[in-house]
Symmetry: C2
Subunit: 746 residues, 2 copies
């Protein structure tokens, strides 16, 4: 017998369909009956956003160089402060005093086998209005390079990351006492001189290869958006994976009178001299290299045969810096909450640039200002945020997140009590939404993205991103985009001002922007200008508006949600993924080690080696043990249950007393603190978060479950076991918080 | 209870070990008691081989250009014939008369937006002694290009293979009425103008991009071995996947008085003009292209942004040829068999070159001559081949396998009766053994390679190759190198003189050489010279000696084996692999089609498309059906049993009567004929073999089970079903032959 499906009347069908058609999609933290009015206010918010405002602000704020210490950096800060005031915010400048070295002498010259002096110059272009302000521009250099005057043979080290030195070792090439030439890419720039110094190099030159950043990618500036042969990438080489912020005041605020290390003892300052150069300047150096031909994967797009050296190229590198302390002006603007003034929804972007910074950071900063203006407009017509909204435009981000880090360090305790969330943006462009952040906010962000329209296609930015994953994603991403309700957000490593908030203070954070259809080579060069931006990036500022729409919604929903929109099932699922990845990594390491050792034992490497090329007999590797992952599996199993219970409880929660609601919300927004540990990570206690950290050898690139993952990568098995216990304990404490929330809801 | 392992006395251990230590490894086709004397004669053979002889022969035969029709081509042929005679062979020249066009006019010029006339010249170099013989050299051209005088906009089409035109279609770019610029690589060169013409192009230019063939790979000539900016690759563009050999005499010998097509009606002559150029000449053309930036995978190593066009580059291409018939001199040398004079062991290599051909083909040809000399020495001291040994040095291979093809076509019937095997070589270099051929010879070749020592490492060439697979192989190859007794040999497509033997006449064939440590860019340029070879290839000719050792062993074992060393289990296993691959291909096509159609239906491609770039809405694809593979599975199952029975029977065969042995050997060496079908492949009846064929759209690259595989790739499902039946029938008839052999052995 099969069960007969009863026929429905037309009316019954209408009734069944009705709720689907008419009811708006839910918004986490809002009662269904409150959703329409929230959507209405968001629509009103949108109506205030004007692309033309973004354009004007960007043009004005990128008119002159505005790095830390520049007069125009202060002018921009004061201008923004005054704008915030005019929008109805209480606004001020919070000033820190930070070490900011600038170059006095920069010399790179080839002295053998031929002579060549690097130009180290980005010339003015008639197509780029601001490029001629030569005197005011900071030249291309690496902030926090060591002073130095070294002469040595050159070695080409590819990207200059640890794997590259493994390859060199196999070829019997040592960089001790040499100057290394590395190309940009595959790691944060600061990793390259750090690893070079660890390997005994006495100097480091980093160039932009046209393969990654130049004509190989597209037509070069000013014909196209990409890096021309004179463009060079400025940037910080502060050892930020140890700690970011002012190198002289580790872990505490760089107030005027704070005790300071001397710059020679500050541990995050690079130990060897290092300088960025253009590919025009790199060409003669690479041409002068002899020795082995570089492996295929090391070769770039310059028209030559890439050799490794060492020598015969011999290079003289001389650098001297002015080690000044400069004021960093953080612009802080506050809209006080009507019900919960001590719960802060924070939203920020930096305002300082390496030169003009039209894209980095102003494209994001002007969206912040426009967001604030629109919120001000809403307030004028009666809308009130229940929680306090704090807007920030940070200074001194470029040299190493100095403005935001010092600001957080100075008021860490207060922030840990009051900050609900920190919402960051930085450069913004044309294309697809990208989002990284605390996974307790993944569902929240998905709902926001669902409600923002893509400026180019008549679908939501969420649907466009899902289409991208379905069409171009890796197999696993494709499959998830088909089957998983929420799109995954990335994990945060470092590279912008969310770092002190999430990594150090344990404040749930998000970083959001648009991009992918706006390639270019202007990054940290004088050509990151208004002219470049308006020709090649978000040319009509519609994605700037989309960013304001996205972040504005996030701010308003956070500010006015009845129950704060944190969610734990997506978080649990994410950590389960990380755990599975780590187990797979270990299994792969184990089988690769077994295979390697078998090949060594059988002498296969020698059998295969080309006698006309250098060969170093590989050694057997120590076996990869099995680790006890049971504590982690048990913690995750506990977390999974708590998260499911919470999801169910919150879904069916009726009216909750104000007192209970307060307790519940405090549990929710402080939950991220329970993912930190007071001791931080091994050998870098500043990094407190136990789920996300920038990699010690990747810089910006995130390492999830960092204590476990990095210990395994370094084959430090004891620390890995300790890491498993540490992370498991962390997750258990986190689950206990969720259980408290569950108790309140029952 | 466990079974006690009895203790062995020391003497017992010695006895147990004795056979392992003292007994030589078996040789297929030889009784164990005959193995030592065979090994002894092989050792003696080796002692006659002298690297110095190879060097002298190579120097002499590469002293002047020796393409078909050149005086020195005939001189080399006569010289080789006389050498064979001096070694004790009966030797002669067998002459065919073949169409061989050479250029009268070659013009490539950019006429807009700038003017540039291609030099089309490889200049003399002081480091290369023969490079200055400018008058005698054939210039860079494509043999069997059409005459033509065309002017049109240029389009860059990457490798110019069908997939590339799919990409162009997605971008809305049509080559109809245009001249296409393709780069060498990823297909045989003749495919590029053929596919261009199919797509409506009116001319084709092929250049060598330095990414694949130039400075990206290594230092350029004369500093290093790689192609410099003037080097250009000559070559044939005859539509060989249709039929190779003289285009005017399809399927029959090009004797003096044979009936001939006119060159305008010959179907294998290219329909549009086509010319090869250097990357120096290509640079201004590529620079003049506008339009979309080429996809990342299309970009080469020239210092520019690769654009696709069409235009604004406009090109004038003018070609005119002298359509001459020239004599092709095949050198044939015979050592008559003492017992089975009508069973021929054939061994060949071509002698003609595009210019000097030190590497291609002389490095292989001189090994052939030295092999023959060493065999002559053995004969002088009493050794006799039981079967007839036929050495051949072919002419007119370069323009399209003309010498060997006409020779085979002229005497196909006799060959099908008498030829046991054809053993081919061509260019030879330094490094690892590579071998392709009939898989009935896989085990035989493995035993040969087991007994030849690598010149650089004190192990066999087989062990060195296995080490290479274990260290650098793909996962599956690694695993098989660990677990499978025999190393796999490749399947033969086309590209050298084995083609008429195996593809057309169904004669079991092998192609063997060494390489992988001898990269370079001299191929088909004037710089494939003695000077280049002795600096960068097999500089001390030890791998030339290793080739002679390998092929000499193969010839002697084939000539004197009691039971011919064909084997069917490896063959069966190989065809099972091909079948599994084809099924996987179909499954992948099916799921990709489903996915594509879903994305089309959901409008995801439009959602993802960048509005600033061209977009063509993709159409839904027809569903991929399920085919009936049961006949093939059944045939393979039958074959598997027959092959196993044969292996067992031959292993335990005692003394066999001479009559039965004769019958058995005839069954064995004619077995490959049963893998052919008189109708050949669809639309190309010259190709008779049903297991191996050059791909219709790859040229040299093999397609195994070609009727099935190509029908599936072309989505011709009916033909694929017919192909399954055809191949199944073929395998059943093949198995029946094995069963006849089994019957003789029982």
């Amino acid at each position: 017998m099969y069960k007969r499906i009863p026929k429905l009347s037309f009316l019954q069908i209408l009734i069944l369909l009705a709720p689907i058609v008419s009811q708006a999609q839910p918004i986490l933290g809002f009662k269904p009956e409150d959703v329409p009015s929230q959507l209405a206010i968001e629509k009103k918010f949108d109506s205030h956003l004007k692309a033309e405002n973004l354009r004007e602000l960007l043009k004005k704020m990128s008119a002159f160089p505005h790095h830390v210490g520049a007069a125009f950096d202060r002018e921009n800060a004061e201008y923004a402060r005054d704008l915030f005031k005019s929008y109805g915010f209480e606004a001020r400048l919070d000033t820190s005093y930070v070490l900011f070295p600038t170059p006095k002498i920069r010399v790179v010259e080839l002295i053998a086998p031929a002579k060549f002096k690097a130009t180290l110059t980005e010339p003015p272009l008639k197509e780029d209005a601001t490029s001629g302000q030569t005197k005011a521009q900071l030249p291309a250099y690496h902030a926090y390079s060591a002073d130095g005057d070294v002469t040595a043979e050159l070695v080409y080290v590819n990207y200059g990351i640890p794997e590259d030195y493994e390859v060199l070792k196999k070829m019997g090439i040592d960089v001790k006492g040499k100057i290394v030439l590395a190309k940009y890419g595959n790691s944060w720039r600061g990793i390259k001189p750090k690893v070079a110094a660890e390997n005994g190099a006495i100097g480091c030159i980093i160039y932009s290869d046209p393969k990654e950043d130049g004509f190989f990618q597209g037509d070069v500036y000013p014909k196209g958006a990409y890096k021309n042969e004179t463009g060079a990438q400025r940037g910080s080489v502060l050892d930020m994976p140890l700690y970011p912020g002012d190198p002289l005041t580790p872990g505490y605020g760089a107030t005027k009178d704070a005790p300071r290390l001397s710059h020679t003892e500050a541990p995050t300052i690079m130990k060897i001299p290092v300088l960025p150069i253009s590919y025009g300047d790199a060409l003669p150096l690479l041409k002068a290299l002899g020795g082995e031909v570089a492996p295929a994967a090391w070769r770039g797009a310059l028209p030559l045969t890439y050799h490794i050296g060492p020598g015969p190229a011999k290079v003289h590198l001389k650098l001297e810096f002015d080690w000044k302390v400069e004021p960093a002006y953080n612009v802080i603007a506050v809209l006080k909450g009507s019900e919960f003034p001590d719960q802060w929804i924070m939203r920020g972007n930096h305002h300082d640039a390496w030169v003009y910074g039209a894209n980095d950071p102003l494209s994001g900063a002007v969206a912040v200002l426009e967001e604030a203006r629109a919120l001000g407009e809403l307030v004028k017509t009666g809308w009130k945020p229940k929680r306090t909204i704090v807007y920030a435009l940070w200074d001194a981000e470029e040299p190493g997140l100095l403005g935001s880090t010092e600001w957080v360090e100075e008021r860490k305790e207060e922030l840990q009590k009051k900050a609900v969330v920190y919402l960051n943006s930085d450069s913004n462009g044309r294309g697809f939404l990208y989002a990284g952040g605390s996974h307790t906010l993944e569902k929240f962000l998905n709902q926001v993205a669902r409600d923002v329209n893509d400026p180019q296609r008549n679908i939501s930015v969420s649907d466009r991103l899902r289409a991208k994953l379905l069409v171009d994603g890796a197999p696993k991403a494709k499959q998830e985009a088909r089957t998983r309700t929420d799109l995954r957000i990335g994990a945060l490593g470092s590279g912008s001002d969310y770092t002190p908030f999430i990594q150090h203070a344990g404040i749930a954070s998000m970083n959001i922007g648009f991009g992918g259809e706006d390639g270019g080579g202007e990054y940290h060069s004088i050509y990151d200008s208004y002219d470049h931006y308006t020709r090649f990036k978000d040319t009509d500022f519609t994605y700037g508006v989309a960013l304001a729409q996205t972040m504005g919604r996030a701010v308003m929903r956070m500010a006015n949600a009845e129950i704060l929109p944190f969610e734990f099932q997506n978080f649990t699922n994410t950590v389960q993924q990380y755990t599975a990845e780590i187990k797979q990594t270990m299994d792969a390491m184990r089988s690769q080690t077994l295979e390697h050792n078998q090949l060594v034992k059988e002498n296969r490497f020698l059998a295969v080696a080309d006698p006309k090329k250098p060969f170093v007999q590989p050694s057997p590797l120590p076996d990869v043990p099995f680790l006890n992952f049971a504590p982690l599996d048990n913690a995750l199993s506990m977390l999974e249950k708590s998260a499911a219970t919470y999801a169910e409880a919150v879904a069916k929660a009726g009216t909750i007393s104000a007192d209970k609601l307060n307790q519940l919300n405090e549990i929710l927004y402080t939950s991220e603190r329970f993912l930190t540990h007071p001791d931080g990570l091994p050998r870098r206690p500043w990094f407190k978060h136990q789920i996300y950290a920038p990699g010690f050898y990747t810089g910006y690139g995130v390492k999830t479950l960092p204590m476990i993952r990095e210990a395994i990568e370094q084959e430090n098995w004891l620390e890995a076991e300790l890491g498993i216990v540490r992370v498991s304990d962390t997750l258990v404490r986190f689950a206990a918080q969720i259980e408290q929330a569950n108790a309140l809801l029952n």
